[in-house]
C-alpha cells in the first residue's frame, strides 16, 4: 500500500466508511499478528493483541485522535505498546511456553521434522537473547518489513539510532551464529 492509498483510506476511515475500515483490517491484521507472535510466541495471545490494536484504532477514530497519515507506523506503535504492557503484566511470572507446532508435514521424515523444530527453536532463542530494543528493531525491520523511517516512528527513536541498533543487533546475531572464538594458550 502506497502512502497515497493509505492517506485516502484514512480519510474514509475517519468518516467510518465500512469498506475502508475492512480494507485496513484485511491489510494489517496479518502483519500485526505476525509482529505480535514474534514477541509473545503464542497464537491466542498474539491474536488478542492484534484485535486490541484495531479496537484502539476504532476508539481513536471515535475520539478524533486517530492519525491522519502514517497509519502503518501508528498501528505498529500501538501494537508495540500493547506488547510491552502485556510483558509487564507477566513480568513476575515465567514466560508462557511457545506454541509447539504439530508435526504435520508428511513430506518430511520424522528426523527432518524434529531437525526443523530444533532449528526454529534455536532461531527463536537467538532472537530473544538480544537486548529488547535490538530485538524490536530486528522484528520490525526484517520480520515486519518496516523501513528505517517507519521503525524509527514506531519506536520513537531517530533513524540514526535505529541504524545503530540494527547494526548492533546484526553483529550480535552474527556472533551468536558463528563458531566460538578460537582458543589459544593461557597467559
Amino acid at each position: 500500500m502506497t502512502l497515497d492509498d493509505e492517506s485516502s483510506l484514512l480519510r474514509r476511515a475517519h468518516q467510518f466508511d465500512p469498506a475502508a475500515l475492512a480494507t485496513i483490517f484485511d491489510t494489517f491484521y496479518g502483519p500485526l499478528y505476525r509482529y505480535a507472535y514474534h514477541h509473545v510466541g503464542h497464537v491466542e495471545t498474539a491474536e488478542d493483541l492484534t484485535a486490541q490494536v484495531f479496537q484502539r484504532f476504532l476508539t481513536a477514530l471515535k475520539s478524533g485522535s486517530a492519525p491522519t497519515r502514517y497509519l502503518k507506523a501508528w498501528l505498529f506503535r500501538v501494537a508495540y505498546h500493547l506488547i510491552v504492557d502485556d510483558s509487564r503484566r507477566f513480568a513476575l511470572r515465567n514466560h508462557q511456553p511457545l506454541d509447539i507446532q504439530p508435526l504435520t508435514d508428511t513430506a518430511l521424515s520424522l528426523d527432518e521434522t524434529v531437525q526443523n523444530a530444533l532449528l526454529i527453536e534455536r532461531a527463536r532463542h537467538l532472537l530473544h537473547s538480544l537486548a529488547p530494543q535490538q530485538r524490536e528493531v530486528i522484528i520490525l525491520r526484517f520480520l515486519s518489513d518496516m523501513s528505517l523511517e517507519e521503525t524509527a516512528d514506531v519506536l520513537q527513536m531517530t533513524v540514526g539510532a535505529v541504524k545503530a541498533m540494527q547494526h548492533r543487533a546484526l553483529t550480535n546475531l552474527r556472533r551468536k551464529l558463528l563458531p566460538e572464538f578460537e582458543t589459544t594458550e593461557d597467559i
Binding site: A51, A123, A131, L143
Partner: protein, 790 residues
Amino acid sequence: MNENHAFEPVEGLMAQLNAAVPEPQREAEHRATFLANVPSVRVTHTRKARPFGLLTAAAAGCALILFGLLTITRYVPSSSLPSAQEATHPLAGIVPITVENAAQIELLTTLGRGAVRAAEYSPDGLTLTVATTTGIYLHNVANLSAEPELLQGSASTVSTIAYSADGELLAGAYSNVIRLWDAQTYESSGQIETDAFEISKLSFSADGQRLIGVGCAEKQGSSLALPCDQLQARVWDTNTENEIRVISLGEGYQSTAISPDGSLLATTDRANFTIALYSLETGEIVKQFTDRDDIYGMNFSPNGDQLAHTTFSQITVWDVDDLLNTNAQELDNVPPTLQRSNFLSGATHGVVISRDGGRLAAANYSGKVKVWGVAADDPLLSIDIGVSQVAVMDFTPDESGLLTITYRGLIQQWDTATGAEISRSEAYGQPANLVQIANNRSFLTEYGLYDGALHLWDLNAEPISRQILDNAKIDLDLRAVRTVGITPDNAHLIYITEFKVGDNRRLPDIWVHYLETGEDRTMGQWRSGSRHLDPRQIFEPENVLMLLDMTWSEGAFVVRKPLLDRQIRTKLVFGKPNSQYISSIAYAFSPDAHLLAGNVCTKEDNSIYANCPDGEVRVWNTQTGRLLTILDLETAEDALDLNTELAFNPDSDILVVNTCTEGNRANALAIASYIPCPKGKVQFYDLSTLETQSNQASGPLVLQPLPTKLEFTDYRINLAISPLSTPDNLLIALAQTRENTTQLWKVDLQAGTTDLMNTIADTGENVTFSPDGTLLATSGEGTIKLWGIR
C-alpha cells in the same frame, strides 16, 4: 568498530522465524467484531465542559473551614493512608534518552524516604518524628504502620532533630541552616543560619531559650565515616536566632552527649581516651577524666542525673553529680552506679536510659539489644533485631516499650516486659549500593550493604511499591548482600550474601530468588580463597551466570559459572601477576560476556590498604582465559592506578577507563573512602579489532587510548553508559559524590569531541541506565531517583 559485516547467516535465521509463525485462528471472528463496532453515523468530537458554580464554591468554602480547623487544632499525623487521587504513573509516556534529547532529562520520581538519621518522640508522646536524608516525617504513634506525613518545609537532608522540653518547638538541622517549627501546629517558626556546619547532635536548653548544636565545621569530604577536622559546639538564642557561643572541641572521631537541660556537654576523645564535661553556659571544661578504652556511645538519662557510656566490652553508668564533685582524674577512681562487662557480644554502640532512670538499653553492631535494670544484675530482656544494626533507640514515652530503628529503616516498638514486638513500620531505606533495572523495565533492585536484604521496586505498580526480600534462613551474626543480578528472562534474581562464621572467616552464599513464587533457594556456599569477597556477575544471553572472584590466596581473578544444581561448571583463572596482590577496585564484564577487564596491581605490596605501586588494566577473553591486551593508561608516575573504574559500551567494543591521574599515595585508603582525587580523566579504548590483532601478535597488545577523553578536576566515582549509545556516539552518565551531582556527557569518538548535555543535582553515588535506555536511575542517601524524558 565501523567494520561492515556480512549477514548471510542472519537472513537464514529470519527465514526460519517467518516460516515458524502459525496461521491465526480467529481473524474472521475479530474482523466481524471490529466491523460490528463501527458506528453508522459520523461521531462529533466535543470537549466536556468543566463543572463550576455552586458545587465548586461550596468545596472551596469547606476547604477554608477545614484549613481554619487545622490551624487551631493540635496536630496529630493521620493514621490512615491519604485519600486516593487520580494520578498519572510517573513513568508514563517516557521516551528513550538519547544524545539528541539528553539535555531535556528531568526527575520523574523519587523512590524511598531516605536513610534514617535521627528520631524523637514529641513531648506529648503522640508523634514519632523521624529525620532522614529526604526530610522530616511524622508518624502517629498509635498507628505506626500507617504512612507517615512529610513535614511541610522539611524536604531535604536532615542530620538530626530536637524537640524543646516544653513541647513548643521542633528544630531540624540542615547543612547550612537549622529550621524551626511550632511543635503544636507543625507550621514553620523561623530558621537559624549556620553556614557550613554539619550538626550531629541538637538539643534545647530546659527553658527553650537556647539551642545547642554539636557538629563538624571542617572536614575533607562528605562521607559520614570521615573524621572531623574541627568539631564544635555552638549555642544560639532561639528568640533572636543569633549565635551566642562557639566551643572548639578538637578533631577526630568523638562521641558527644548533651544533657537534657542543655547545661552540660560530654565529649570523649578516641585518640587519648579522655572524657570531658563542658559547661555550655561558659564554654569551659568543668571536669576531665582519662579512661582506658575507646568509647563507642554515650548518653545522658532523660532526667539528666546519669551519664552512661559504652566501650567495646563494658557499659558504665555514673551519677552526674558524682562526676562533677569528685577530685579524681581517672574514671577508674569514680565509683559508678552500674558497670557491666561483656554486656553484649561485640562492640556496643548505643545506650539509652529510661525516663525514670530505672532501666537501661544498649545495642551492639549485630542488631542485638539488651534491657537492664540499672540496679539489677541480670538483664531484663534481650531482643534480637536481627535484620540490621540499630541506628536509633529510645524508651517509649509511657515507659512500657522500647523503640528501635535500624539503619535499614525498620521501625519497631517492643514491649519491655515480654520482648514482644508491639508495632512496626518499614517506611525507610538505607543508602542503596547498587541499582539494576530488569530487561523489561518492570522492576528495579537495590541492596543495602549491611542489612542482608534486597529491595525490589515494582515499577509498574501505582504507586511504585517496594518489596523487601529478607532471607530469614540466614541466622548469623553478620551478613551483607555483596552483589545482585537479574537474569535476562527477568525470572530470577541471583544474589550473593556474605556472612560471618566464628570470629573472622567469612563465606559467601549464592542465592536464587524466584520472582514468580517469591521463593529463595541457595546454590551453596562459595568457597573461594577470598576473605573479602566483592564478586561481580553477568549473565550470558543464555541465562548462564558468570561470577568473578578475586582470590587473594591465588593472586588472581577467577571466573566461575555456577549452576542451580550447585555444580561449578567452569572455573577459569586469569592473570597471576605476582601471586601476592590484585586490585579490588575495578573490573568489568563486557555486555556480551566475552571480555573481562580488570585492574591488576603488578608490584608487590604488603598492605592491602596502602596502594598499588604500579597497576595496569588488562583485558581477557572470558571463554578462553587468554590475555588480549594491556592498556596504556597514560597516567602520571605517581598516579593511583588502584582507583580506576571500568565500563564497556553496549557493543562491547569500547572500553571506558576512569582513572585518578594525580594523588597522594599515602591517602589511598582515604580515597577509597570517597575523598575525591585532585584530577581525573575518562579514556576510551577501541577493542573492535582486539581479537584479530591479538591473534596475530606474539603476546598481549599494548593498547593506546583514543584521542577523545574527558578530563576532570575531581574524581567521578561512578559511571554508566547508555545502552542506546551508538558505536561512535556514547551517552555517559558520571556520578560525582563530592558535589552530589550526575553529569550526562555526549562523547563523539569520530569527531573527537565531548559535550556536556546536562547536570543533575542532588544525586550522585550510583548511576545506571535501564536496559531499554528510557530510564536513568541514580541512588544515594537511601533514595533512588528516576530520571527520563516525557
